[in-house]
Symmetry: C4
Amino acid sequence: MDAKTQNKTARAKTVPAKPVLAKPAAAKLGRPSKLQLDDLVLANKILFRFNIVDAFGHISVRDERDPKNRYLMSRHIPPGMVTAKDIVTFDMGSNPLTHVDIPQMSERYIHGEIYKLRPDVVSVVHCHARPLIPFGTAKGAKLKPLTHMCGFLGCGVPIYEIREAGGMTDMLVRTAPLGKALAEVLGDKSVVLMRGHGATMVGVSIQEAVYRAIFATENAAIQMQAHQLAVGGEVEFLSDEESTKSSKGRNVPRAWTLWKHQITAGR
Amino acid sequence: MDAKTQNKTARAKTVPAKPVLAKPAAAKLGRPSKLQLDDLVLANKILFRFNIVDAFGHISVRDERDPKNRYLMSRHIPPGMVTAKDIVTFDMGSNPLTHVDIPQMSERYIHGEIYKLRPDVVSVVHCHARPLIPFGTAKGAKLKPLTHMCGFLGCGVPIYEIREAGGMTDMLVRTAPLGKALAEVLGDKSVVLMRGHGATMVGVSIQEAVYRAIFATENAAIQMQAHQLAVGGEVEFLSDEESTKSSKGRNVPRAWTLWKHQITAGR
Amino acid sequence: MDAKTQNKTARAKTVPAKPVLAKPAAAKLGRPSKLQLDDLVLANKILFRFNIVDAFGHISVRDERDPKNRYLMSRHIPPGMVTAKDIVTFDMGSNPLTHVDIPQMSERYIHGEIYKLRPDVVSVVHCHARPLIPFGTAKGAKLKPLTHMCGFLGCGVPIYEIREAGGMTDMLVRTAPLGKALAEVLGDKSVVLMRGHGATMVGVSIQEAVYRAIFATENAAIQMQAHQLAVGGEVEFLSDEESTKSSKGRNVPRAWTLWKHQITAGR
Amino acid sequence: MDAKTQNKTARAKTVPAKPVLAKPAAAKLGRPSKLQLDDLVLANKILFRFNIVDAFGHISVRDERDPKNRYLMSRHIPPGMVTAKDIVTFDMGSNPLTHVDIPQMSERYIHGEIYKLRPDVVSVVHCHARPLIPFGTAKGAKLKPLTHMCGFLGCGVPIYEIREAGGMTDMLVRTAPLGKALAEVLGDKSVVLMRGHGATMVGVSIQEAVYRAIFATENAAIQMQAHQLAVGGEVEFLSDEESTKSSKGRNVPRAWTLWKHQITAGR
């Protein structure tokens, strides 16, 4: 391919595919509830606004109409550009039931496989948030809860090494087995770091998954500072009991109220 | 609770409670002065604008109508969303005298107990400002005044370890005894750090409390850099005399003028 | 020169030169394609928006009309101010074929000399992005791929020491020989760091060159954090195979779609 | 003073004094040239926009009408709020010749005393830019030029220790002798760091002084990163010859063009 052709190809690729309307078979599903669509679109915007996702990353939620067998997530576009029309319905095999003729997230197996192993999980975020990366790549580093906003980290934060599941890959969780391996490393925890890649966090609602994505990232940024300030000395983390106790309460809805306000007000 | 129910519950919780108008008994109090309400609302917005508070944190002020027995603070909402209608009047036991049927800040005891012990204090800020956290958690670290803007730190910055007052908790100062313990650790100082939580600072006015919150945070961010640059070597702080002398002057009103201008201009 | 004169001179210099229309000889070239002009102008705005360039730095692209012999780049103005009218056509000797009577980038030889040695390269970015500087100046530091977004760093990131090519200079690549030396240090790689100066990155399209500039900078910022967190310990980078495999795929067009959206929406 | 009174006093102080029109005697001076006023006001806005100054800091320029005997600087307000009406004319003793009945910058002696000792200097910036503080307080740290944008640092960056000139003070340069001592420590250099306070930089024009303030701050931020990346190892700075050579050229007007554009466009 010569330079001229390469240039044209690259440009052509950047034209985003248009959303394809649901096919007749998929149409039987009907539309997800407006409330759930609105929350999912808003979640995409919040994650983008707070630099949890950039052009990459995604959030899904179990489909209220059939939470055991289906989930909702956007088609293959940047989260900051997602609208209700871009929300695709997937089965738990991560096959699209709507929008079937257009590109989908290659890493959708992260979502489907976690929902299979974790009936308690209602929403999943996958991201490359910058402050989380060092904790998945610096040997010996451990992400731990520094404040009561992050008690959900107290149960431990495992690290997914894709080499163990798939050898030398392009680092993407682009098959069901790789997704299943990730779900197994996550286990019953809230967050799993992914070496050389990013992180995935789960919640009992869209709101909780978003909260955990934002505050895990906050915790990581502050924890790096704390270690540097301690210069080899100790940092005091929440105890297990403090983590458990501080994980309850009104934090999630209060934070969501603000974030929704900020997005709605265009800030 | 199954996934579907959990999801609905989470969403329901995010609908903010509507402010309830003052009850007949409370109505006798009348309204706080417009000037004081305006300053308190503005202070909330400034603290939010400068990342001192996020969805959490609060600022209070002694009620000008009865400063010995009452203080003003917003109801349980994010500071960036506070309006004059959300300002609640509390007694020094931190019982709401207005807005009695809606959720209040669980940590309002921080405010009431400090006012009881510190007659000189007119305003109190509680926050989770990011750069302050490491100084409360890295063992051996001490927040000290690096520049003349932060002379108020020169008298020392104590650290509140809630375990000493309450054992293993959810980290929140949600009772009068926990608030009193905090007030005692604060003593006659300007700022108290709270391990695994954040910080609380006081002032002779709303303006001074806000100034101290913003500049204590600035000092923390710069001090971390100074220690890293010194790499184990020494950092030169203000002497006690320099701290005392530089604490006087026109800094607070000048900074407030700018902050007010920025909020008013929507920047 | 006395103070008064100096002050006037300094001010006079700040009046930007007006773009001169193409001369008759150059006019024969006609205008570059609107599509290519639009992409190049947009690339300038994106690089500015993401702090890859400030008042300085530039991006060029081979001219689609004659990619072997010509390239396009803005005249001597800050990238954030570039419009289609400011795009100059250069020959591979970096002589302007249009806009010939006004100041040009003194470092245009970076572009011309790389195009001469690298027929596969279609676009070149030169920048002073802040996080890249330390990797070119801290002895022993090596910029390496931390995540799959930055597989293009896996082939190695050489450092250009201008002293070897030109002795003690003003650090600028302001001659063809200095540009050729830089192109030779770059070799077949994607990015070359320039000691005491910045970096230069190449791509098979404007989109890829911009992508590499933004993500090389991201990688540098995160890698510094990872080394600090590891405190002398090891950091796990992508293996060569992981780097190669993760360099393919849909990352570039997806990111470009977002960036274009952000600039168009004025964000 | 009881709490109630203190609160009122604090609020009263925040009402900014209104600019007083020039007195008859001062009126003889006439108005400074519109061009110079515009540049000085713009410089205030640029310094604020780039976080070189916050509510504090100031910039002055020799008065074109009588550069040996007078200089211009704003009255005592935050730089981000300065308009042409707020520009005061001072004599070299730092006495206001206009706006005589309102508060002036207590540190105006920094400006007057430097002009007295440095006939080549046309403009002076005093600031508390955050990244510069550590270099004035971490023992053994030295601010040195990392890139060709900062060649002006190559001649050395002295540190002013106010204790040597004034013993234990409030850290402010509020007298002519303290200002003279600062000017003497500055000597023939471009920038002087002030321990526990900030920095002062000079230039042959408003544009150059602003450029030096912004890029000295950039250099400091990057240099801290470089030292951390080197972890006790060496960092390669510009040589003396590289510093000298790179200090010439078109950098200042090009940067000013952008900054002016950004302020004018409200960005």
